[in-house]
Symmetry: C2
């Protein structure tokens, strides 16, 4: 990857704010600095950055893909209504439902662990 101002700006936007933005939200923020930046550029760079492991993609089966600048081990708590993504630390997983209700007032309805990688067929 060569350096580019736009990619740098996009990275900073995602890194500096824990809102787990969608591509559209990154676009809106990036336009403040680069009014002519195109949405395609934002998508292209978000994907490149996550392919390089610098950002992480977060999926939620409701609404758009989101991006996370935190790459250390933590979990995500996703509101089915407003679709915001909240961080959950490892320790908060013990006694999950009660703890999340006490701490965040978050009513857990289900959780899902997904493991990503390459299957034996595709490795060939």
């Amino acid at each position: 990857m060569n350096y580019s101002q736009q990619r740098n700006c996009i990275l900073e936007i995602v890194m500096s704010d824990p809102i787990h933005p969608t591509a559209e939200q990154v676009y809106e923020k990036a336009r403040l600095k680069y009014p002519n930046i195109s949405l395609g550029t934002v998508y292209r760079n978000l994907n490149q950055l996550s392919e390089h492991g610098i950002l992480k993609k977060i999926c939620s089966s409701y609404g758009s893909v989101r991006f996370d600048g935190r790459t250390d081990a933590h979990f995500h708590m996703i509101c089915k209504d407003c679709q915001r993504v909240f961080d959950v630390e490892l320790g908060e997983m013990l006694g999950l439902e009660d703890k999340l209700m006490d701490k965040f007032g978050f009513q857990v309805s289900e959780y899902e662990i997904s493991i990503q990688g390459v299957c034996c067929d595709c490795k060939k």
Copy 2:
């Protein structure tokens, strides 16, 4: 929810085959029995069934949403290449990476736990 033949067929398709199909895949199968069924009907019913907790939506940030007829506790292993979704039993999580490599030849690159529910703002 009233009874409908089409919804019943859709439910059976998802329940009877562990491929974790996309809406499009369900549509193709449903057309064998109901050649005039519309894709909209498939989406409508898959969403209704998962809102009622009868099916589960699976997201993967690559490709389309998928649906799962299994509602007991288990995890998903998603190939970043072909995007198929494989089931992982609870026990297989202990010694995760080595075990999944031994058993499935699956190269883990990252995993993500996401908790879904309703946040304190939206509960109002």
